[in-house]
């Protein structure tokens, strides 16, 4: 299939040559696709006769988005969401590559489970799936998993969602083992004891509302531990969901000391803070919790300056039984794959960030964390594209979300910017332009 995409605004990390330098561009350019790949940027090759020509006047063309954390709920939680529904939601949000955390039931701690998941995803003509394996058997924090076997089955790293396990020696061993094979560990910087029972940011809001707090210390104490172990082992670590100003400053220090560390932030944490809990709004229950205004400002700045590498959705589809509960009893998380792009654009427009830089945080940067070839538009690359209207205003409603999880803090709110067309391996899989 040959496709001409004409007259769109090409934004994000782009290279005009197969192995040339990558620039952050924002420029009207046409792109030509053939056999699932990007054939040329700018002018079509001689004798190029497209099967299909799409006029993208007024729209942005970006690399397909790369999401570092999207829970697909398989295996084990199919009643909350299925691979089909969530992969569809990913495409609807312009996400063409994603990593799923291992907190399924059973957790992704055996090669067979990972193979099954990859096999199921392959049948769906969907986003490229990069599973994270469990760092320890059953995510119990006791015995490290067969990381090499899991990597062969398709895991791109090994994670432990939720608070750090209590046995620090196991974390040390996991780092040593991962380092031996060159694997990355994905760690949530959250101390188990200090975060115990906590449901909201420790501070005036939680104190007033009588909610148990998760102190910033839970993050900083964990970070100190992680960085010490990294210094000793030389392991590569990706920090998941940073939440505080103090955490950012420790990360900045660690990076300046050349530790092999990357980090992400959930897009919600660039927008919402503890005050947004309002009158116990369970939709605001998140893990890590929304912190203070000051923390939000620090997270935003850290993304802009590249201290935090990537923005992710932290997509967590939940059903009513888990969310329509008193604040502390509700499950943390929200449906977010389809909000990743508009919420990142909202951040960008509020903080006056160039469009190409916003896109970079959603594409090339997370792809580099994953260590996969994705997130860049260049000749020869797989034609995974997200084509969006940066001006289109829409209201988030249950109907507008394809995800089976309908709970999001932004329900009923207006957002600007919408994915209009998703192309995966040269094939149009979402098309809201021509309907």
């Amino acid at each position: 299939m040959k496709i001409s995409l004409l007259g769109g605004r090409l934004v994000g990390p782009i290279s005009y040559e197969h192995s040339g330098p990558i620039h952050l561009l924002d420029k009207i350019e046409s792109i030509f696709l053939d056999q699932g790949k990007i054939l040329a940027i700018g002018n079509p090759p001689k004798d190029f006769v497209p099967d299909e020509t799409i006029d993208l006047n007024g729209l942005c063309i970006a690399p397909g988005l790369v999401d570092l954390a999207a829970r697909l709920r398989e295996p084990g939680f199919e009643y909350k969401a299925t691979l089909e529904s969530e992969m569809r939601a990913a495409l609807n949000g312009g996400v063409t590559s994603l990593s799923c955390p291992p907190d399924t039931d059973p957790p992704l701690d055996e090669p067979g489970l990972v193979e099954m998941l990859k096999h199921r995803a392959k049948g769906l003509r969907a986003a490229a799936l990069y599973p994270l394996g469990a760092m320890t058997v059953g995510l119990r924090g006791e015995i490290i998993t067969e990381m090499a076997e899991l990597a062969e089955a398709g895991c791109i790293g090994f994670g432990h969602p939720g608070a750090l396990f209590t046995d620090t020696q196991v974390l040390l061993r996991a780092m040593q083992y991962a380092k031996s094979f060159g694997f990355t560990l994905w760690v949530h910087p959250c101390d188990h004891f200090l975060s115990r029972n906590g449901v909201a940011h420790s501070g005036a809001v939680a104190g007033r509302l009588g909610l148990s707090g998760v102190p910033v210390m839970a993050e900083t104490v964990a970070l100190h531990t992680i960085f010490e172990l990294m210094r000793a082992t030389g392991a590569r670590v990706h920090l998941c969901r940073l939440s505080s100003a103090e955490g950012v400053s420790l990360l900045r220090q660690a990076k300046s000391q050349q530790l092999n560390v990357t980090a992400d932030v959930s897009v919600h944490h660039l927008h919402l803070i503890d005050i947004d809990i309002g009158y116990f709004d369970s939709k605001m229950r998140m893990d890590p919790p929304f912190r203070s205004q000051r923390d939000r400002a620090a997270l935003r700045e850290a993304v802009q300056m590249g201290v935090i590498d990537a923005i992710c959705s932290d997509h967590t589809p939940l059903d009513d039984d888990e969310k329509q509960l008193p604040f502390a009893d509700a499950s943390p998380g929200s449906s977010a794959l389809e909000l990743l792009l508009p919420l990142a654009l909202k951040w960008g427009s509020e903080d006056r960030i160039a469009m190409a830089q916003i896109v970079d945080k959603l594409t090339r940067q997370p792809a580099q964390v994953l260590g996969v070839e994705a997130g860049v538009i260049r000749p020869g690359a797989v034609a995974d594209l997200c084509i969006f209207d940066p001006e289109s205003a829409w209201i988030v409603s249950e109907r507008s979300l394809l995800s089976q999880g309908k709970h999001t803090p932004f329900l009923g709110r207006e957002l600007i910017g919408m994915n209009k067309m998703t192309i995966v391996q040269g094939e149009v899989v979402i098309d809201k332009l021509r309907v």
Binding site: G203, A204, A206, G207, R208, G210, Y279, Q324, P326, A328
Partner: protein
């Protein structure tokens, strides 16, 4: 975000927390309660204000005392009262909180008195009945987790007003486990709203939440300093389970440093009153000599509590 407990024209629709209630409304409740105090001492202790109305006491957490006071208040207003202990029925069968509410609303409940172990649960219920039933069902928070116990806060204010008349020159000390206390939070909001210039909070740092200064309190870890020249002492209950965890080493040590004894009471003004929301742990947070002494107004609190709850219920019924 509109205040979920007030109607568009500022009337009380639900009573969920004292935080954010206008001073005039709090005074209005206290004034109304004064009128009901007489009813409680008559031979026929009944007025027909809630005749034909159904009040459902929904207790997701056990409390015989609080439930009984609401039951008495509703009965004296001639309402029909249904008591439900949910933790022993629906919740055990896996029915969700909001399903339970829908079922009871379908039985034409007019008012829910809700106690729940989770902070904020009555807000969820109020928001749900507002959405499904408009404004004809009212919710009273009878204690939610650590968050609020507004009728207790109001009856404490009634007690203080009864004995001290004027709030604007008082020093009030709240002593003990503020961290876990919904009573403390409601009292603090009420005291600051009514113009008390000095609200002191006394306790070990393990039992004090963050943000007390933002709520308008001064924090004291030394009880002797904190009690100096105060007019009102509110002693909080120390729950048994707190004496185990890592929050406190022992009840004995707690009593020695934060228990109210006659000796410590003498640091306060000579006419200071001593309050306690009950039930008391004698010898833990309060010495028997003080609890039964002339400055204690703990039983008056109980009496006023009925009148205050009658006032709240009658005002909610009017708002419909």
């Amino acid at each position: 975000m509109p205040n979920p407990q007030l109607t568009a024209n500022g009337e009380l629709k639900h009573l969920l927390t004292i935080e954010g209630l206008p001073k005039a409304l709090i005074n209005g409740i206290l004034d109304t309660a004064k009128g009901f105090l007489g009813v409680n001492t008559r031979d026929v202790k009944k007025v027909p204000l809630l005749r034909g109305k159904s009040v459902f006491n929904l207790f997701f957490e056990n409390s015989t005392r609080t439930r009984t006071t609401f039951e008495i208040a509703a009965t004296r207003l001639s309402a029909d009262v249904v008591n439900l202990n949910i933790n022993t029925s629906s919740a055990a069968k896996g029915e969700s909180l909001l399903d339970t509410i829908d079922n009871l609303v379908a039985m034409h409940a007019d008012m829910f008195v809700v106690r729940h172990a989770s902070s904020g649960a009555p807000f969820l219920i109020a928001e749900h009945v507002d959405r499904t039933r408009g404004s004809d069902v009212h919710v009273i928070n009878a204690g939610d987790g650590r968050h609020a116990h507004p009728t207790q806060g109001l009856l404490d204010m009634y007690t203080i007003r009864h004995f001290k008349r004027d709030f604007t020159e008082l020093r009030v000390a709240v002593v003990g486990d503020v961290l876990h206390s919904r009573v403390a939070r409601s009292d603090i909001h009420a005291l600051t709203t009514l113009g008390v210039p000095e609200v002191r909070v006394i306790g070990p740092l393990t039992l004090l939440p963050s943000g007390l200064e933002q709520m308008g309190c001064q924090v004291y870890t030394d009880m002797k300093t904190g009690l100096k020249d105060v007019d009102v002492i509110i002693i909080l209950r120390l729950q048994n389970e707190r004496m185990r965890g890592a929050l406190l080493p022992s009840a004995q040590e707690y009593f020695k440093h934060y228990g109210l004894t006659q000796e410590k009471l003498e640091l306060a003004k000579s006419d200071a009153i001593v309050m306690h929301p009950g039930p008391m742990n004698r010898g833990v947070e309060i010495d028997s000599a003080v609890a039964d002494g002339p400055q204690a107004v703990i039983l008056e609190q109980v009496t006023f509590g009925i009148a205050v709850r009658m006032a709240v219920m009658s005002m909610l019924a009017e708002a419909a």
